[in-house]
């Protein structure tokens, strides 16, 4: 039993080590690409300075960008991009919704504040859901505490979309694998 635990501990250490190298590499590539695209000058001095700066940033702050193992992160970011496409469509719908409510002579609004719980816990998932709620039709996030959301809805219908259908919560939970 004890031996088993020791092996497990060793494995975790190994994973952490390879995860660290992967994190530094990903951060370095992202920073360097960012540098090249923003500078647009490709002589030795500027590119060299870019390499040095990206390396320093990657060494110091790699744990901000990459926290987990490579494969999990890749599949998560793939799911995230698919989610972004759906989200863009929701934003367009949200704008037509607001335009309709604002330009309608009688202004069909009936604001209410709702609360609901989610299973999400990681910061990035919570931020994604909060910003999605703010950008989708008729709802704005007021506050989050331990996965509990307070949301201001402009009418009954958009509030029901969050309380009853829960499509958005399900989609975000699928992307971040936090059911």
């Amino acid at each position: 039993m004890r031996g088993c635990e020791e092996v497990k501990g060793k494995e975790e250490k190994m994973n952490a080590k390879s995860g660290k190298g992967f994190g530094i590499l990903v951060t370095f590539c992202a920073m360097f690409l960012f540098w090249l695209l923003l500078s647009g000058i490709f002589d030795a001095l500027h590119v060299g300075a870019g390499i040095i700066c990206s390396a320093i940033v990657a060494l110091i702050s790699h744990d901000l960008l990459v926290k987990e193992k490579g494969e999990k992160m890749l599949s998560k970011s793939f799911g995230f991009f698919i989610y972004l496409g759906w989200e863009l469509w929701q934003i367009v719908l949200a704008n037509f919704d607001v335009a309709y409510r604002v330009l309608h002579p009688k202004m069909p609004i009936d604001p209410l504040i709702i609360e609901f719980d989610t299973s999400l816990r990681s910061d990035f998932a919570l931020v994604t859901l909060a910003n999605s709620i703010t950008l989708t039709p008729g709802t704005i996030t007021i506050d989050i505490k331990d996965g509990k959301f307070w949301v201001h809805a402009i009418a009954k219908k958009p509030a029901d979309a969050l309380l009853v259908d829960k499509t958005m919560q399900k989609k975000v939970a699928d992307v971040f694998m936090e059911w």
Partner: protein, 114 residues
């Protein structure tokens, strides 16, 4: 090139329309929270549509035959779009939370305008 001009003008016009609805919402809606609904959403899409129009125009009118640093301007515009998508809802949420913590009562149907 006429097609590009038409698409760019349509994008700019759509952007201006949504910004305009945002302003009308700011003036017409009854209280602080509902006004944030208008500004938070319409500004995001309006700005993004305007930037997308500029991006297309730059890509097809300025970029061919230009220097590399001029050709990279669309990349910066894309960064701008990403930043707006991140920053706009976050700022809206921060203002909303501040108002809620201060104890500002939300408007209910039937109340007088605030």
């Amino acid at each position: 090139m006429v097609i590009i001009d038409v698409i760019v003008i349509l994008l700019l016009a759509a952007g201006i329309f949504f910004m305009f609805t945002g302003v009308i919402g700011l003036l017409r809606l009854p209280d602080f929270y509902t006004r944030l609904h208008a500004t938070g959403k319409c500004d995001t899409l309006g700005e993004v549509l305007i930037i997308a129009g500029l991006l297309l125009y730059h890509l097809f009118v300025y970029s061919p035959g230009a220097e590399l640093s001029v050709k990279l301007v669309p990349v910066k515009l894309i960064f701008l779009i990403i930043f707006i998508f991140l920053a706009n809802p976050t700022a809206t949420h921060a203002i909303m939370k501040a108002a809620y913590k201060t104890g500002l009562k939300p408007w209910k149907k039937g109340d007088a305008r605030m």
